[in-house]
Symmetry: C2
Subunit: 154 residues, 2 copies
């Protein structure tokens, strides 16, 4: 799967980073499967992540959606000067997750340009909406996260 | 630690249930430490739950707060006829968690009576606010969860 843009390498690096930086998410089997500026998608298996109702546990769904913010930052902004922070998150549980799940989030070019320009001067808040879906596309959960991008040292 | 009210037994049962019903929460070391009708408190260690900033990972804090709902249900309502469900949850991250954390939530007697009376006829929504604090009492996170208590079969 050679990719002239080097996307497979970025993915492999991001998955390695996840293992090192958020071991609990890695242990759940959370894996990034698509990553580019303004877009990220991750998956989590069902095995080991169920609860007593036979559906994926709420804390796993939260984690699957939450890690997208850091990966999107990595793929979109300058990680040598800025870091991301989640301030708050709302999660709606819309249907039970009965199998492996996939979650994605995106930022459009206009919003990316706004954040990049503002971040030169300091902290910049931005919102991310993520959707968690089952294998058949059923919407399992939706999150709305309030993030900040911050220059190192702030 | 003999307790005439039998609280240690209820606690031990609840911790055993957590291990069986939400293995991922148990693996994080989430443990119930206080449990009575209308009140529950749980703790989680720092070890193994940190992230790359050296603070407790957001998904662990969410899980610590989220499991309180099920335990409160167990300690307060009739588990032979009704089960709890989380519909949505908002979590604010207010300060970094740099050590073991404790989370608690409560329902007052008036609200418990209202829910019990209404639950005879079907699903009843109720809200729970939980606070997550550090060892020195610093407020680390606050969650506001929308739950339902539902009769089995509904």
């Amino acid at each position: 799967m050679a990719d002239p843009a080097g996307a497979p390498d970025a993915l492999a690096t991001m998955n390695q980073l996840l293992e090192q930086t958020i071991p609990r998410a890695h242990q759940m089997g959370v894996t990034f499967v698509e990553l580019r500026a303004g877009y990220v998608r991750a998956e989590v298996p069902f095995e080991g992540n169920g609860n007593h109702f036979g559906v994926v546990y709420a804390g796993v769904i939260f984690t699957l959606a939450e890690v997208l913010g850091g990966a999107l930052h990595y793929a979109t902004f300058d990680v040598s000067t800025h870091y991301p922070l989640v301030r708050s998150m709302n999660i709606e549980f819309l249907a039970p997750g009965k199998g492996p799940l996939s979650a994605s989030t995106a930022l459009d070019d206009t919003e990316i340009a706004r954040i990049r320009a503002a971040a030169v001067n300091g902290k910049v808040p931005f919102g991310l909406v993520a959707e968690v879906v089952g294998e058949d596309g059923t919407l399992i959960a939706r999150t709305r996260g309030d993030y900040q991008i911050r220059p190192y040292g702030s």
